[in-house]
Amino acid sequence: MTTTAPAAPTNKLGLTKQDYVGSKSTLCAGCGHDSITAQLINAAFEMNIEAHKVGKYSGIGCSSKTPAYFFNQAWGFNSVHGRMPSIATGACVANRELVNIGVSGDGDSMSIGIGQLVHMIRRNVPMIYIIEDNGVYGLTKGQFSATADLGSVLKHGTVNELAPIDPCTLALELGCGFVARSFSGDPKQLNTILKAAMAHNGTCIIDVISPCVTFNNHDSSTKSYKNAKDHDFPLHELGFVQFNELEQVEIPAGESKVVTFPDGSRVSFRALREDYDPTDRFGAMKVLHEGVEKGEFLTGLLYVNTQKPTIHDITHIADMPLVHLGQAALKPGKDVLAQCMDALM
């Protein structure tokens, strides 16, 4: 008797999860970054993302290698250290139909690349920007990054004496329309946040605590698995319902708050902390700062605003992706040159 393996489940595009994977990871076994890759694959599968429309971007670092490990059918661009935001900005204005996913590290984003990150947020470049945050430079073998907490200790005993930069408070300050923090050890929450980000039109900053098992996972490290597990305080339970599933699913009313994205998808928040309102920017700032004081790191969708103009609005470019415009639309005629010459005579 022969048995056939049960067919792998497919999504609305008829694709299996296997269609969203990439090459084999070359990161250290147990690296937090690999769990994030796994959730990106799950979220894209569930969200029926057309992989060929995805642009995957990264800078340089262990984290920045990961775009090679998901979505084999997407175009990828592993650029230079810290400057992926400008590459994504160029691609995003060239072809406004691309779904942009960037993966960076805390070194890549918070030191060499902080200028580009800041200005990408200001321009509201539509992209998911994930910071795989381990408090160290993994690829250059374990130096402190700018997110390392004051007093955290390196494997060899060096103590960090500089105050950290928090990507989420920074993003909030800059008016980013989607700010979230999660933990690579919390796949459920990360998955929900990623799906919500895929529905959002604008820059999504997602700071994911992602322990470096090789250089920063000892007990004294504040970005170790143990520390993250002990100090992770979810702000709320998140529920995400994609637009085309709205018919079937009822969103619980009552104490939950619902945010609707332009495509009709919704996130519901059931607050675990009193009065947490993810659409209140000042409230979010206050809660975040209080968390820092208490030594907690708060996870969840910290702030969302679905109404901000994006770089496509700000540049006043055509609705049709610029790359799809042909010569007829791009090359003015002879009469225009004659007119320009006349004005100079």
């Binding site: 090679a68 175009w75 990828g76 592993n78 400008s86 060239a94 055509a318």
Partner: protein
Amino acid sequence: MSTALANGHTLDHTKTLVNDFSIEIGTVNGSGSQTANSVLMRTIFQMGVPVSGKNLFPSNIAGLPTWFQIRANTKGYVARKAIVDLMICMNPETAKDDVLKLAAGALVIYDEPLKLNTLRDDLIYYPVPFQKLVTASCPEPKLHKLVKNMIYVGVAGQMLGLDMNETKNAITKQLKGKQKAIEINQAAVDAGYAWAAENMPAQNRLKVVPDNKTTGNIIIDGNAACALGSMFAGVQVVGWYPITPSSSLVESLIDYADEHRRDENGKLTVAIVQMEDELASAGVVFGAGWAGARSMTSTSGPGISLMSEFIGLGYFSEIPGVFFNVARTGPSTGLPTRTMQGDIDICAKCSHGDTLHINLYPGNMSECFDFAYESFNLAERFQTPVFVVTDLDLGMQNWMSKPFTYPEGDFDRGKVVGEKELAAMKDWGRYKDVDGDGIPYRSLPGTPGGKGAYFTRGSGHNAMALYSEKPEDYKELVDRLRAKYETAKQYVPKPIVDGTGSKRGVLAFGSSDPAVMEARDVLSERFQKKTDYLRLRALPFTSEVDAFIKESDVIYVVEQNRDGQMKALLREFYPEAATKLKSVLHYNGMALDAQTIVDQINAFEK
């Protein structure tokens, strides 16, 4: 009266210089002298006399000294002329020096209270009571400072015999429909003219008489010409960061695109994004180029230095993009607002590792337009950054030009494969050299059909775009990039060669051209030295350069930098010719003049 010149000739001051002299005006930055100077220059141009104008400005917005040089030349020599025939002194701070540097016999118009006539007695002075004339001609005291400059236009106009109707046309053109401004400026010109007619002794030294040598010509600067070329090339994405002398290139493009690059809904067909710095501008160029758009940036030397890491990535991972470099000498390495051909080396080889780039060197306004247009074809054909290297002199100064010719034909989008082509290809590989010309095929993000996706990286990769650290893969890749550079020789603009068979070669490029042309005439007419001229217009060096070097006994390489950067490149690519190459150099921040070239060549041949 006569003056002995360094080259052994004497200037005869009794002769009238008709349509062949230079004017220099010393003013204060931000005092509105730009308008006055343009009007003066345009009047001469509109009278049919070939003319060029150079603005020597400080790195400052208002208050520091500025000079404007106008050269009228009936033969069409438009290079800077080292000797000033008429000096107009409006800036008390520099007036003394301005007068002391003049050659004997020069004419000087100056603001009466400056009493410059006590400085030397070998000049011809024309004191003008500017303040009195302004007060009388302009009712609004707060405009006095601005229109004061228009008075000298009237005074000089009367003195040189300019056609005041053309001055009137020039004012109207310059102030485009601002009626009140036109009236006030015209009144000041008239006041200067009337005063000069009544009070100034007539002179016979410098005269402008109507000619027909500028009919149908335009006046433009190189940045506007490059902007036009880019607009007609269909540029789709621009990332830029302001830096003199390149800012006006993108600013002109913004204006042109605003009018001529909108779709049927009135939306722009080009995205122009002012970035936070040049690093980010380069990123936008390559992000957009990778996604399939025609992309560009415009900058100057300091910007290129910052962009260089990205440019290496663009070269190595084979992404098109156009980089305009309007060169100047600094800052960090010199004067921020003076001209220099100082970035030859950095643009030829920009970035770490083994890198060689296609460079275009326009030498006049038509070429600024044509090469800007062509650079996008080359970038996409060769999937690589292409540099259009100009300088402050070309980019920001006023040049006379024939109107540009419409670029006929289709864009060359290079080897891009879409869904259909991919489906028909058996074994697609992003970096495979299918045609043996070093140029692979590329696919664009967003192409449907499930084929064609690949991963771009600046680290080791093989022909299939997969990560590789294998020695043979890396060597194959960089060797192919070199082969691609060889292929580019068939596509880049060829040099212009003017041979007389003299075996005395002159090799120059870019903004040096007008001075070289004039110097060749001087060498031939006064010193009986015939020269052959090769004007280089691109890198890589093509077979015409090979032949020129082979045929010449000596090659004077004229360039505007200290170290002979082009000569060093030539020595690298033609080591056998090293002893034939002699440097003719000019690098004080001023535009090159013919006399400098003549003197240096003569010194070599003593």
